[in-house]
């Protein structure tokens, strides 16, 4: 008996989902990695400033939403960890390259 060969299945193309965060993080503008790191540090600075302002409000009793301060400090902590991880990876990659010997 002869079995007909299986034909290829056409998979419909999936449209790319672009999110603002992904676009900012993977920018291919000239100065690629430096620009991305700069942008990341700017966001980190914003997050820390926002958390500091809310901390002052909480201490003086002006804060109406307690959760606002906790969420801002959590975001600032996560952003700091993210920046530290990016720096560690970059330094590791650099050291890996420098370890190459002729």
């Amino acid at each position: 008996m002869s079995i007909a060969p299986i034909g290829p299945i056409a998979i419909p193309a999936v449209p790319p989902v672009s999110t603002p965060a992904a676009d900012a993080a993977t920018s291919t503008a000239p100065g690629g990695f430096a620009a991305a790191l700069d942008h990341g540090l700017g966001q980190l600075q914003q997050a820390q400033t926002k958390a500091d302002n809310l901390a002052v409000q909480a201490a003086t009793g002006d804060l109406t939403d307690v959760h606002d301060y906790m969420i801002a400090s959590t975001e600032a902590g996560l952003a700091t960890q993210l920046t530290a991880a990016v720096r560690n990876k970059a330094v590791d990659a650099f050291n890996e390259i420098m370890r190459m010997q002729a």
Binding site: A21, A47, H67, I71, T74, L78, L82
Partner: protein, 134 residues
């Protein structure tokens, strides 16, 4: 903040539920406010929430507050200082059982958003651990 979106969105939800809880507690505090029949009774406050427009969903916000009925219920109390010529005093028409039900919903909504903040924080922290051992 777009970087950790779920945290900010849950934060807006927490604000909405906090305001709902404030409105319910205000209604319950004023449930026995007597007023003369010439003016309105204390009107119950309802918080109107609506979504924040954003391409990926931006959370919720309080669009405004709506006030309940101003007629209230007329009670016969001729000895009350605010009673009119017929001895009627106006009390607010607030159903305490309904307000307690709303209070439970507001509290559970607040807890649900807190759970989202918790899980999102765990998820983002786990992502930051990627490649740590390499």
């Amino acid at each position: 903040m777009a970087l950790f979106g779920a945290l900010g969105i849950a934060g807006t939800g927490l604000t909405v539920y906090r305001k709902w809880l404030d409105a319910v507690s205000d209604n319950l505090a004023n449930v026995n406010d007597a007023s003369a029949t010439s003016g309105p009774a204390f009107q119950a406050r309802y918080v109107l929430a609506q979504p924040v427009a954003d391409s990926l969903g931006g959370g919720a916000q309080v669009a405004g507050t709506a006030l309940g009925s101003a007629t209230g219920r007329l009670v016969y109390e001729p000895d009350h200082p605010l009673a009119d010529a017929e001895g009627m005093v106006r009390y607010p028409d607030i159903d305490m059982a309904g307000q307690m039900g709303q209070m439970i919903m507001a509290q559970r909504g607040y807890q649900a958003n807190l759970a989202v903040v918790d899980r999102a924080h765990d998820a983002y922290s786990a992502a930051l651990q990627l490649g740590r051992s390499a």
